[in-house]
């Protein structure tokens, strides 16, 4: 019995060791993501991206629209309009980030919240991942929605909280991410699922995004993505109320 048990253990151990050795490195997974979504050259030609779509708080009858723009080197602006809630705007540029809504009024982000926001809204994040993360570890292979994926844990260089991402083993696409969002409302775990990848200007973008926080889910259905559009001068300038706060 002992001999059989030892041999069985060795076999099991051997299989485990082989599996661990077969996991590609985190770097390999992220570089492959760049390739399967269009390649370095395609990503490098991006100067700005404009996205419009529809929002839905799943099952609650709450719907709205989303428009978001991002541009090199690190500018971002998002406008959401939700029925019954109104307009919610946010943006970042030159190392500062802000939000304004009828609910909260104008607000400048600070501290950990600012650090995380600047990390999460960085332009061309996929191509330039080496600028953003100090370590990327492929921790395991596990299934997401029935498909084998690699689970990566990535530590941002700017000290923001680590995030987890799942990349499909077969397609190489990013299908889920998890981050702990730090805000004055607390530390909130958010899961994001991505799908319906389509090509725009030679790059694959997700057109279906679902974000889950606790028992609630927000589904974004992207309607249009434009790459390198003509954006008006001052497009990323903050609204007047925010500029007053900045002074």
């Amino acid at each position: 019995m002992r001999k059989f048990t030892s041999a069985a253990f060795l076999v099991v151990a051997g299989v485990t060791a082989a599996t661990a050795q077969n996991l590609p490195s985190g770097e390999t997974v992220l570089d492959r993501y760049i390739e399967v979504t269009g390649g370095k050259a395609a990503h490098a030609q991006l100067k700005n991206v404009s996205i419009t779509g529809k929002l839905e708080f799943t099952g609650q009858g709450l719907t709205g629209t989303l428009s978001t723009w991002s541009a090199a080197p690190a500018m971002n602006k998002t406008v959401m309009e939700l029925a019954g809630i109104g307009k919610i705007e946010s943006g970042s540029a030159n190392g500062r980030a802000w939000q304004i809504s009828a609910m909260q009024g104008p607000r400048l982000l600070e501290g950990e919240e600012l650090k995380q926001n600047l990390h999460m809204t960085r332009f061309n994040a996929a191509l330039n991942w080496r600028d953003s993360f100090s370590t990327v570890n492929n921790e395991a292979e596990e299934a997401v929605n029935g498909k084998a994926c690699y689970r990566l844990v990535m530590t941002p260089k700017n000290g923001a909280a680590p995030e987890t991402a799942w990349y499909e083993k077969e397609s190489g696409l990013l299908v889920r991410s998890r981050a702990t969002i730090k805000s004055p409302m607390g530390e909130i775990a958010m899961d994001t699922e991505l799908g319906d990848f389509r090509e725009v200007s030679g790059i694959k973008f997700p057109f279906a995004i679902t974000q889950k926080v606790g028992p609630q889910a927000i589904k974004t259905t992207v309607e249009e993505i434009k790459a390198n559009a003509d954006l008006p001068a001052g497009h990323f300038d903050p609204p007047a109320e925010i500029q007053k706060l900045m002074k």
Partner: protein, 408 residues
């Protein structure tokens, strides 16, 4: 039973059976499953408040499957939700939506223009709307509305809603209402029903509801009345105007009596006009997440005395607002203890057309107090009182004004 009647009944039997056979319980079974699964998966307490949830399903689902009518099936769902023994669990029948849909006919929430509160004397009229048929007919505050049916066995809150339901009907219709006037005489008046004041507001899966937000000057105070916490843009405009008006006043009074709640975040949004530094009004404890009701101070907040008027019909977000500002020492509360119905919730639509409301979080105040079942108590108790109402007085408002007058 004579032969003719027997023949009539036998002839009618197929039709009767056909009516019963035509009811398909499947949408209600699907609704039951959705409700049961949702509570199991999303109710903020994974232990489901100690309920034997599997047994609940085993017991009740077969009754839905065997139901012979929509009313019977709906009753089983309501029974399941009642077992939660908490606020913010319930069904909103399809008729509630159609009654408030202008496209489907006159509004169903019309009334003769009176507000009532359950006092020791009964359903006492607290307010008569200016220009209403009730006012034209001589109805006055302090009168007692005598609704049909025996409501005495109901809790005060249920008695209130039952009385209000008996006041309501299609806009433009005329009905008779019985009252006891301030001299004790019985009065039977035929009154026309008109929609309540306010803007018809829609939010998510809620039926449309009338919303009234406004400010005015009253003595040495600027007063803001908020009938429900919806329409953030309207609320913020009124707050900005209130703060401007308060520059020439000695204090601010915020009246959330009768306010049933609304968007949870608006409690913090309103509070932001009255604090100088960031604050937290409390925490919404969900399954897998906890949200603080963070108050972002406005650029030019009002920092003078703030009084808040509350009563037993101040509920939900109104309680987060009043209780939250009380907790951080920013407001003085006048009136009566709030309703203690303080659970953040969502409303989904079921396959049956019903709205399904369920709580997804528990609210804890900044000091750790759970308001559900307890409510927020005022600093100064000032109930309405029939005598005061008949004299045209508002004790809670009077006490708040007196406090503001004396504040430095």
């Amino acid at each position: 039973m004579n032969r003719r009647r027997a023949v009539a009944l036998m002839s009618a039997a197929p039709a009767l059976l056909a009516r019963q056979d035509s009811f398909d319980p499947q949408p209600f079974v699907a609704a039951f499953d959705h409700v049961w699964n949702t509570i199991r998966d999303k109710y903020w307490d994974p232990k489901l408040a100690g309920l034997q949830w599997e047994e609940c399903k085993s017991e009740l689902r077969p009754r839905v499957e065997a139901a012979k009518s929509a009313g019977e099936a709906r009753g089983v769902l309501a029974e399941m939700l009642a077992r939660m023994k908490q606020s913010h669990f319930g069904l909103i029948p399809p008729q509630a939506y159609s009654a408030m849909d202008p496209a489907q006919g006159p509004r169903g929430d019309a009334s003769p223009g009176i507000d009532v509160r359950i006092l020791p004397e009964g359903a006492v009229i607290t307010r008569v709307a200016p220009g209403s048929s009730a006012e034209s007919a001589g109805v006055r505050p302090g009168w007692i509305y005598l609704p049909e049916g025996d409501l005495s066995g109901l809790s005060p809150m249920r008695r209130h809603f039952a009385a209000v339901a008996r006041l309501q009907g299609p806009a433009g219709s005329r009905r008779e209402f019985r009252f006891e006037d301030n001299a004790g005489a019985s009065r039977l008046l035929r009154l026309e029903l008109a929609p309540p004041p306010g803007k018809l507001t829609r939010f998510g899966n809620l039926p449309p509801l009338p919303l009234a937000i406004g400010h005015r000057r009253l003595g040495e105070a600027a007063v803001l009345t908020v009938s429900a916490f919806f329409d953030p843009e309207w609320l913020q405009r009124e707050c900005a105007a209130l703060v401007e008006a308060a520059k020439s006043a000695k204090g601010v009074i915020i009246d959330v009596r009768g306010n049933p709640g609304g968007i949870s975040g608006l409690a913090a949004a309103l509070a932001g006009w009255f604090v100088k530094t960031p604050a937290v009004l409390g925490t919404l404890m969900m399954r897998g997440a906890a949200f603080k009701l963070y108050v972002n101070p406005r650029r030019e907040p009002y920092l003078g005395p703030v009084a808040i008027l509350i009563d037993p019909l101040s509920m939900s977000t109104a309680e987060f607002f009043a209780g939250g500002l009380k907790d951080i020492g920013r407001a003085r509360l006048f009136g009566e203890t709030t309703g203690g119905a303080a659970l953040p919730s969502v409303i989904e639509k079921l396959p049956t057309g019903d709205g399904f409301q369920y709580a997804i979080a528990r609210y804890e105040s900044a000091s750790g107090q759970v308001l559900e079942g307890a409510g927020v108590s005022p600093h100064v108790t000032a109930p309405p009182g029939r005598t005061a109402l008949a004299a045209g007085r508002d004790p809670a408002m009077e006490q708040a004004l007196e406090w503001i007058r004396k504040e430095k």
